[in-house]
């Protein structure tokens, strides 16, 4: 066999694990999508699955209802305002993989008219959820923000209205719509009031169900040496939250918050979003200097990494051109400012990558710079 073929084979099934931080960075740069971090897709797909399971008995109805929504027949006359939130995502219907068969439109629509309105609104709500769970989260979230408005601050109501006029499940908006559409058809009023009833009745449960993605608190780092800058954000598409960094720093009503930890310790970072509290911890190890001066005067002659608070550190130090200056592993790593060959490193800025394993057994990766003076 040719060497090239052997080499290709060597790499054929080579699939190394990727650090989760890469996806965090990628998703942050993607157009109009909420970052879905670890567990994000798990949660959202579970919501989707549970909804699919829940609506399975109504499957035929939904097929009918969905098609009707798409075509804008009968349904529109009866309950324009109820379906409106669905409209922005109609085109994405095909992306929802529902285990259902298309059913004859006319037959289903007459069935609907004969049956109770509650079921109908139930269905339309479920459709909304399924659609928003499987389509553009920002659109879905706009809709959900409307649902939320009953329990949340007035500011959120305003923002949801600003984002979309179609957030009609908002109480105020739906009242307005009743006035305009009731002249045409009394049924729409009934539907709306039944929607409101359902919402009030299910207030406790709907609050949790209406969150598109289970709220997650995400940090850019879980730990490392001080000074450690930590940025916290949630996966709720920029929705405002209150953050507490566990050392007395509280930052309220922001989409994301940053804080620098200067002292070692284990801190509990909390976030309150949509009435829920989520927390995680940050482990701050000992202090790393930003400057050292290996000139033999006995002051700051060494760049010392690690010590008592870690079980090991793996340190790589590079110069500006990427040349490696130090590549050492140990409980404590010391750079005396010499290059591998023995001669003295030049004055300037050096870059380090540190993999520190704390006494709690977690390995933290940290990048930074150290300035060398003499």
């Amino acid at each position: 066999m040719k060497l090239e073929d052997q080499l290709k084979n060597t790499f054929d099934h080579f699939e190394p694990e990727v650090d989760p931080s890469v996806w965090a960075k990628v998703s942050a740069q993607l157009p109009s999508s909420a970052p879905v971090f670890d567990g994000g897709s798990f949660v959202s797909s579970n919501i989707l699955k549970s909804l699919v399971a829940k609506i399975a008995p109504f499957a035929g109805w939904i097929a009918g209802a969905t098609v009707i929504v798409g075509l804008g027949i009968i349904w529109k006359l009866n309950s324009t305002e109820v379906v409106v939130p669905v409209q922005p995502v109609i085109n994405q219907t095909n992306n929802v993989t529902l285990p259902i068969n298309k059913v004859d439109i006319k037959q289903e629509s007459t069935n609907e008219q004969q049956s109770g309105l509650d079921t109908k609104t139930e269905i339309s709500k479920e459709i909304n959820k399924v659609k928003s769970a499987s389509s553009n989260p920002s659109k879905g979230q706009t809709f959900i923000a409307g649902h939320f408005s009953n329990n949340s601050t007035s500011e959120e109501i305003i923002s949801s209205q600003n984002n979309s006029n179609k957030a009609s499940s908002d109480n105020k908006a739906s009242t307005n719509s009743v006035t305009t559409s009731s002249a045409l058809n009394n049924k729409s009023t009934e539907i709306l009031s039944s929607v409101n009833k359902t919402e009030v009745g299910n207030n406790q449960t709907s609050k949790t169900e209406d969150i598109l993605v289970e709220p997650l608190l995400m940090l850019n780092t879980r730990g490392g040496f001080a000074p450690l800058s930590v940025t916290a954000l949630t996966n709720q598409n920029g929705k405002k939250a209150d953050f507490n960094f566990g050392d007395g720093t509280q930052i309220n009503n922001v989409a994301n918050a940053s804080h620098r930890f200067d002292s070692p310790g284990i801190y509990t970072v909390k976030c309150i979003i949509a009435g829920r509290e989520i927390e995680t911890t940050v482990e701050v190890l000992g202090q790393l200097p930003t400057v050292f001066s290996p000139n033999g005067d006995g002051v700051n002659d060494q760049f010392i990494i690690g010590g008592a608070e870690v079980t090991s550190v793996d340190v790589h130090i590079y110069d500006r051109t990427g040349r490696i200056m130090l590549n050492t592993k140990g409980k404590q790593v010391i750079w005396d400012g010499a290059v591998l060959g023995g001669q003295l490193a030049e004055i300037g800025t050096y870059f380090y990558d540190i993999f520190a394993t704390s006494n709690s057994g977690v390995t933290y990766k940290q990048k930074g710079t150290i300035n060398l003076f003499r």
Binding site: F14, V18, S21, P31, S33, P35, S45, N136
Partner: protein, 189 residues
């Protein structure tokens, strides 16, 4: 990764979802290919960190350019091409000058072990190659481009590509023989 992490969608459905853009489709597409593409990135990089940076940049390009994927050929092949091109962009930006010096056949060292190494080990010594060697080696040996195509991609002559490749092979073989130690100290000639 975890079997329950997603409802299985076909590549086509994923692409459609990503074009909406649907965050969960984007995440699934990434999950489907990230490890394979990370393997590609690592081969073009000198360290794991550089590989991660390349993977990040490459995937952002993948998502931005996805609308230009017309379904011709496999999605994986298309993504791989975007990732490799990202690596080559870096190579071109650095303006590394490659020169072609023909090697005598007898200079080529014993390569018998080279083809039998584990990916992880081979990767280590590939990462220690000078960037020029590494790039040409990857393009020819793994990606399967011919020397004329490599010449066009890198703006060098076909002969330069040939000689870079044979020297890369020689250096790899030597590195293997010296227990993967020697390559780091061998300067780019």
């Amino acid at each position: 990764m975890s079997p329950e992490s997603s409802i299985a969608m076909t590549d086509e459905q994923l692409v459609e979802g990503c074009l909406i853009p649907d965050a969960s489709a984007q995440k699934q597409l990434y999950e489907r290919f990230n490890r394979k593409m990370f393997a590609v990135c690592l081969r073009y990089s000198s360290s794991r960190e550089d590989g991660e940076d390349l993977l990040q940049e490459g995937f952002v390009k993948v998502f931005n350019k996805l609308s230009s994927y017309k379904g011709e050929g496999s999605l994986e092949g298309w993504i791989r091409k975007v990732i490799v091109n990202t690596a080559l962009d870096h190579f071109r930006q650095q303006k590394i000058i490659l020169t072609g010096i023909e090697m005598a056949e007898d200079q080529i060292s014993d390569e018998s072990t080279l083809g039998k190494m584990e990916a992880q080990e081979l990767l280590k010594i590939i990462q220690q190659l000078p960037k020029g060697f590494r790039t040409v080696f990857n393009l020819y040996a793994i990606e399967g481009y011919n020397h004329r195509e490599i010449g066009e991609l890198l703006g060098i002559s076909e002969n330069t590509s040939k000689s870079q490749y044979s020297r890369a092979r020689a250096q790899l073989a030597e590195s293997v023989q010296h227990h993967y130690q020697q390559a780091a100290n061998t300067e780019h000639p």
